[in-house]
Symmetry: C2
Subunit: 210 residues, 2 copies
């Protein structure tokens, strides 16, 4: 927590997400604006929810047609409510090798994670393309004015893999089991786009007055 | 849908629930008031979510300690937000024979379902007792001024079992997979206490003007 220019406090809210989580699309689209409005600093944290779900035997949709059908419909309704584009269910699952998530990790280390993640979700939900596929990923990274080959090479190397694994370890230690999850400065966790407002309220209520 | 006295419309919102669902506690505590305030008629529908979850291989908490821990904490926070009593995690799971749910079915057929369900949840969440156990069930039914032995006998007989099975069949046909689920008159479904407000808004927006 740090003092803001105006003498108030800036509270940190960590945003743990996985590119491939469907509901995270809503949070990727709206978390920044909500955080900014409330004076919270949003920290983007890509992590491998897939690893944690495997470990925890947490299978939300595969083999569950009623629940899956509902999820897309609910996502559509929530997107409408928030004015977020929704053009029908995109391909699912995506990012088989978690390459897009590792590029997001590199981007987080370098300060362009939000830009990249928004672009990856736009490719997925608006163009119905898998941002984990090389060609799509190259286009996304190029459009951000970066060298796609260099980025993908680095995303495949050990330092970025280790950084991604550390974020995943930290998520596990925090008790995270799904994406998106918001973590307040005091360690309180909020799972789901539908808890984003609660997380922001919590961050505001539990800020030490400057 | 029917005309209300004042010339407006009364829309029906069906409330599918299972006594034993943790988050349904919040809906049992607050759905009536929200529905009344919005002019919707709330219809209480006990059903065997356990049957559907078994069929759909939907295991939300068993063997998932992180998710379970989070669920209780989230429930506690939501209860605080709504002014609903919460005295720590009650016994879980409960109602092994679905007897409390079958008494709720009898009560729904006879018009005292809300009373019974509220009392069952109070026993569970406030006194930390399992409303599916005979002794607890007898006390709940007696306190409502009814004959517990007669009620339990009827809950064990074929007509009530058939009625419970029909509600479960209907839930399956509607695409329901969890409790609570709210069903609008046009068949739109909303899963979770955190979609109760959305369900009420939907019911209001989609009411045919009288």
């Amino acid at each position: 927590m740090q003092k803001a220019m105006g003498g108030g406090t800036v509270c940190r809210l960590e945003f743990f997400f996985f590119i491939g989580s469907t509901y995270s699309y809503l949070s990727v689209s709206r978390a920044s604006e909500l955080a900014t409005r409330s004076g919270a600093e949003l920290v983007w944290r890509p992590f491998s929810v897939r690893t944690l779900m495997r470990e925890q035997n947490n299978v939300p949709f595969a083999g569950k047609p009623s629940k899956t059908r509902y999820m897309w419909r609910d996502l559509e309704r929530r997107a409408m409510r928030f004015g977020v584009p929704f053009r029908g269910a995109p391909p699912y699952p995506i990012d088989a090798d978690e390459l897009a998530n590792r590029v997001a990790t590199l981007a987080a280390d370098e300060g362009w994670c939000e830009q990249f993640t928004r672009a990856a979700y736009a490719a997925w939900f608006e163009a119905h393309r898998d941002p984990g596929q090389s060609q799509v990923l190259y286009e996304i990274v190029s459009a951000l004015g970066r060298d796609p080959q260099a980025c993908v090479a680095r995303a495949n190397e050990e330092p970025v893999r280790a950084s991604y694994a550390r974020a995943t370890d930290r998520a596990r230690e925090l008790g995270i089991f799904g994406s998106p999850t918001f973590v307040a400065a005091d360690g309180e966790i909020f799972w789901g786009d539908d808890r984003l407002e609660d997380a922001i309220d919590w961050t505001r209520c539990h800020a030490t007055k400057g």
